[in-house]
Amino acid sequence: MTPLLSIRDLRTYFYTEAGVARSVDGVSFDIGEGETVGIVGESGCGKSVTALSILRLIQPPGRIEPGSRIEFEGKDIVTLDDNAMRDIRGNRISMIFQEPMSALNPVFSVGDQVAEVVRVHGGVSRRRAWDRAVETLALTGIPSPEERAKQYPHQLSGGMRQRVLIAMALIMKPALIIADEPTTALDVTIQAQILDLLLNLQKEFGTSILMITHDLGVIAETTSRVIVMYAGEVVEEANVTELFAHPHHPYTEGLMRSMPHIGHDTERLNVIPGTVPAPTSWPQGCRFFERCRYSWDLPEHEHPPLYDVGANHKSRCHLAKEPQRRNQPHDPLVIREGAGAA
């Protein structure tokens, strides 16, 4: 079965005055129908740029480099003309943004904004669009949707606003929803509700979801397959259970080690020392080299490919060739003080 979305060698570069920022640098992955795939990584790893690239919403000075391929329902999104692209946006692929307040237009009622999506795509009457908006708002669990639809964004709570954004993303019954940190701006109690809602609606409509987050908890709860990104690249890809049971890449390992665990009485949380290098000057060899506990001389010169390290499990780490190195962790080469603050 051909996947719904197939990304091959996606490179999105930004031509800034400081140099060429290679924010997404050769990313490939697939999303199947009805599948939930997670992209996890810290700020600046290129996960949001990947999402925006799929919708081709990259603004100058950024651009998707020629040679990148994003195939969706048999069309190549990179070369599609603008009209066809607009037909896809919001209709076949839609997006849920991180900050529900700023993603909503402050001067329109939320019902108008949900209905707007139908009117952009549907060619239906204003009345009909409004009715569908109210129906969809009801689906997302908004109480008394008829009344709420007439309210403005600032009159709703964060959780309600996020439900409105979900309604906007869902109303055209798209094949794929990209959720960019959909719960980051919300209270923890609301987070769980919103995730449940997303998963229930996904079951109902058979939509695929690309879940972008830095929160491994969200990944564990919602996704079936995980892509770990670091410095513009995929560094590890595996099924969710496999990834949590046997993280291979030292970066993934570090992410897991830095999660707080209930019952473990630790004074301070583990951190991955150092910071992500600047996208204008990725290191030549392994991009994680300077922060890695197992690094040795070789990877400095050799850029690691994605090794197969298990069933449907890939990792961009030379440990795949020399696994015995894992037994000798050491302090990375960076100075610890700098990392303590991070």
Binding site: N91, A103, N105, Q151
Partner: protein, 296 residues
């Protein structure tokens, strides 16, 4: 946002609408100075609209150019008569009509140009924006009054329509800068990206998503703009190159009495009072609206 979750979740659904315009009107009604200004303005507008019904005489009629000229205020002529024996009260009432109409229509012209120019420039960005802004800089470097004087001296006897057009065409530069600045600030807002992500076209985003967010500065600029045009028109008419005779505007009534301004004091006092009152109320309203919108 998370903090206010529960509280605002229960804000009464009974009071759903809170559009920027409604917000502005309600705020105006809350403040006493703007309430007074609204009432005064309403009266003046009413006078202008009902001019044919309330004016005691035909504003252009010259009943007796010898015996009835230059009469001081009396019961028969509360504002006196002018050197052509016309009733000044009637002329002031009709003048309200014309002065307000010129103010409103010229401002509409300015708004149309200013908003369109500024929005396109700001939204297009890049080279287009740079060229459009340099052109605007050039226009802004010519004083408005000088521009108008030049035009009106070159073409005396312009019709009212042409006068309105010129007043409007010279009044949009400042507004277009404001609009451009706002569009520039808003076009990278997340709700714009969100609208794009949902498939809206560039034109739709500009018209449906950006412009409604500019209502507040536009309303403020329009209110202040009308006041400015009224003063400008009066100035031009006072110089004898504005509204042509026998039509009455506040400016040209003052002009008719300007030869003997000390003796025919009623000819400048009454239209002057009306003009100052109108301009003041408009400015009070404009400033109050600005306060409301900027506080948000």
């Amino acid at each position: 946002m998370p903090g206010q979750t529960q509280g605002s979740a229960r804000t009464d659904p009974a009071k759903p609408r809170e559009s920027p315009l409604g917000l502005g009107v309600r705020a105006l009604l809350r403040k006493r100075s703007s309430r007074v200004a609204l009432v005064v303005l309403a009266v003046i507008v009413l006078i202008a609209v009902l001019a044919p019904l309330i004016a005691p005489y035909d504003p252009a009629a010259q009943p007796d150019i010898v015996a009835a000229k230059d009469l001081p205020p009396s019961i028969a002529h509360p504002f006196g008569t002018d050197p052509y024996s016309r009733d000044v009260l009637s002329r002031v009432i009709y003048g309200a009509r014309l002065s307000l109409m010129i103010g409103v229509l010229a401002t509409l012209v300015s708004l149309t140009f200013g908003v369109a120019y500024g929005a396109i420039s700001g939204y297009a960005g890049g080279v287009v924006d740079a060229i459009m802004m340099r052109f605007l800089d050039a226009l802004l470097s010519i004083p408005r009054l000088l521009l108008l004087l030049g035009v009106l001296v070159a073409w005396p006897h312009l019709s009212i329509g042409a006068l309105i057009l010129f007043l409007g065409l010279t009044g949009w530069f400042g507004l277009s800068r404001i609009v451009r600045g706002q569009v520039l600030a808003l076009k990278h807002a997340e709700f714009v990206t969100a609208a794009e992500a949902l498939g809206a076209s560039r034109r739709r985003i500009l018209v449906r998503h950006l412009l409604p967010n500019l209502v507040s500065p536009i309303v403020v600029a329009a209110t202040l703009g009308i006041a400015h045009v009224i003063v400008l028109e009066a100035g031009l008419s006072f110089l004898g190159i504005g509204v042509p005779q026998p039509l009455a505007s506040w400016g040209n009534i003052i002009y008719d009495g300007s030869d003997q301004i000390a003796r025919l004091w009623w000819m400048s006092l009454f239209p002057g009072l009306f003009m100052v009152t109108t301009v003041m109320t408009l400015n009070v309203l404009g400033e109050s609206l600005r306060d409301v919108y900027e506080r948000r």
